[in-house]
Symmetry: none
Subunit: 204 residues, 4 copies
DNA sequence: AATGAATGAGGATTCATTCAT
DNA sequence: GATGAATGAATCCTCATTCAT
């Protein structure tokens, strides 16, 4: 038995109690969103914990692995698109606007859709496929039969193409490129905007 | 017992003198191409040296940093496109075919063109811009004034979009997606093939 | 998405009040017995709390440190041997059978007797000495003056030797080795069996 | 690509060059022998590197995993017993004396023989079995047919029993217990001493 | 010029322990 | 008295980079 070498007498930040749990989880997701956006999905998890202002253990308590953190971040993006899709009178152009907004916000979301249909990398995890499929379903429901992307996998191929174009130092620059990309595809895209769903459903 | 990793009493491989230098450099580039293709641009540099059969120091002698290794790998791709561009009677469709071939071969090349015009990431290195600019020049020279991609930065935007679509487990799958992507853009693309320039000029 | 590890909005399990205390302690000891048997004395304490179905704090309330958990587990083993020793007509061979049964059941008990008389390791805790001494006393009372182990510390040395031999993947295998070990020592050992003392006295 | 965060300008101890390799390996084995003896085979590998006065990476260069370090330590013990076994006129009692000397020196060696024949723990590694088998072979060759341990697995069972008895704060104390243990088994044991084989064979 | 060992910072992960509720 | 989240030290391991030979 290796002797533990704790120094419990040192000053450590006070345990703020279980009330912080939900708050911490939100802080972690927000931090992960920023860190992943800045450094990609390979960013150190410790950077996320640090930015969230919590210990590393808290991150591991809430998310057992990198995939769960990423999933939690992307989940929010997907949820907004799904929410936009079920609104009365929703049209494809509008959905693509919301989709595009998220593409310009989150490098991680770009990576998700960019990888749609790919199984090459060992870290292509099932959750990515599942999230990506939810986006596809939301969009496809609003795709008229005569639409130029109606055929086969053209819809998600176009999304991957636009994702590939969404690069640039600022959100505005990325948005410009995204809109140009849709234009080159001859696809109408509505206003690029978030679709805020209000307070998060209680499941988190 | 595990085989010792060193040979304390053995003669080390003899220094093969300056004649080896060019050979070693070629071996490093070839190894880097394979390793980057398999594990992406984040692969350990030590893996490249190992596969090339040289010490780590040799890698650092030839390439001061990761960027220059990557650049050397991409250089070859760019050179083929440039070579194809100066052939008598070359046309844009043919060049795009060669470009597309490289996109399907090399994840690293995809990254290069995908990142065209981006300066956000800290590892966006000048060499990427330079190489990317060379590709653009080679293509633009064959772009007729009435071509749908003639305007502004549409040409490289389209290339970035196709790059974004080139994903998949096998080269054949990636090629299928790339061809579909050009089709969605309404751009004619010639046969997807390498343009072998014969023995490489010794400058590297 | 991974199931959330907390229930921010759910009611937490109701505090079941002081009546639970004794029940929780028993559950912890039972859990510790299993966990220590499976993973050795270095097993995570959190695993014990989890298996007992209580929070980590409960474990720390009942047992201030790892040593006291281990001690509580071993206490039961020792008590059975003491109980067997005070039975009318008890003989050494029978006691050694009970002792051997516990050796084959509990890796932790093996460690206790194996370490008898040792003070080298920093985690050699007083409780181990005390428990071990109780075993010695119970046995020695039934050691006739002419017995081959009657001299000095030979008795507990023999016990340590048998403990050292009690290894094997299954209880049956361990029992075979233990019986052979006693045979090599020329010591008669009775049937290898538990000596159930009925419901444990509430003191624990 | 995560940006590397090295600070090469900071003072670091000078690279002492490849000449140190053999020296470092020896230092690591010596350090491992001490650390394993003090804290058992679960001791932190970092403690070994620290005691050897080398960086952690050096340890991993020489030994890819914990098993190789342990193996290197135990290899020396086994080799001495094998060497003693092939000496002209070697007898079992003498070999057991050498064996016993190593048991009193090294907790790790105790663990090796103690575990002989056990496959329960997931970290029961093949090298342990192989080394243990070499000890058995060396001893068995000198076991006359009429010897009390000649039967079946009694030989190694006895060794395991003595290993189980070899505990105590000082080498002298451990030796006393070991000798008493052999006496209880009725087995003659020669002088407890090392069998120095002189400079290590060049393979390390 | 080549070799490959040394170096240690950094990231992932686990777990003992505390403490707000 | 129960609960289980928070905390961060410690360990394992990898790799970029330097430099003696």
């Amino acid at each position: 038995m290796v002797a533990p070498l704790h120094m419990p007498d040192e000053r450590r930040p006070p345990n703020q109690g279980p009330k912080r749990a939900a708050h911490n989880r939100d802080a972690l997701v927000a931090a992960a969103r920023e860190v992943f956006a800045e450094h990609g999905l390979d960013a150190p998890l410790s950077a996320i914990a640090r930015r969230a202002g919590v210990g590393q253990g808290v991150l591991y308590r809430h998310f057992p692995d990198r995939a769960s953190v990423a999933s939690a971040v992307l989940e929010e993006n997907v949820r907004q698109i799904e929410a936009a899709a079920v609104v009365e009178g929703a049209r494809l152009a509008g959905l693509l606007g919301v989709l595009t907004w998220h593409l310009t916000e989150s490098a991680a979301f770009v990576g998700l859709l960019h990888a749609h249909g790919v199984v090459g990398r060992p870290d292509d995890l099932p959750y990515a496929m599942a999230l990506s499929a939810r986006v596809e379903r939301a969009l496809r429901d609003h795709l008229g039969p005569g639409h130029p992307l109606a055929c086969g996998s053209d819809l998600m191929l176009a999304v991957a193409m636009v994702s590939g174009a969404v690069t640039g130092p600022t959100r505005a620059a990325r948005e410009r490129r995204a809109v140009s990309a849709w234009r080159l595809l001859g696809v109408e895209v509505g206003p690029v905007r978030a679709f805020d769903t209000g307070p998060r459903p209680s499941t988190g």
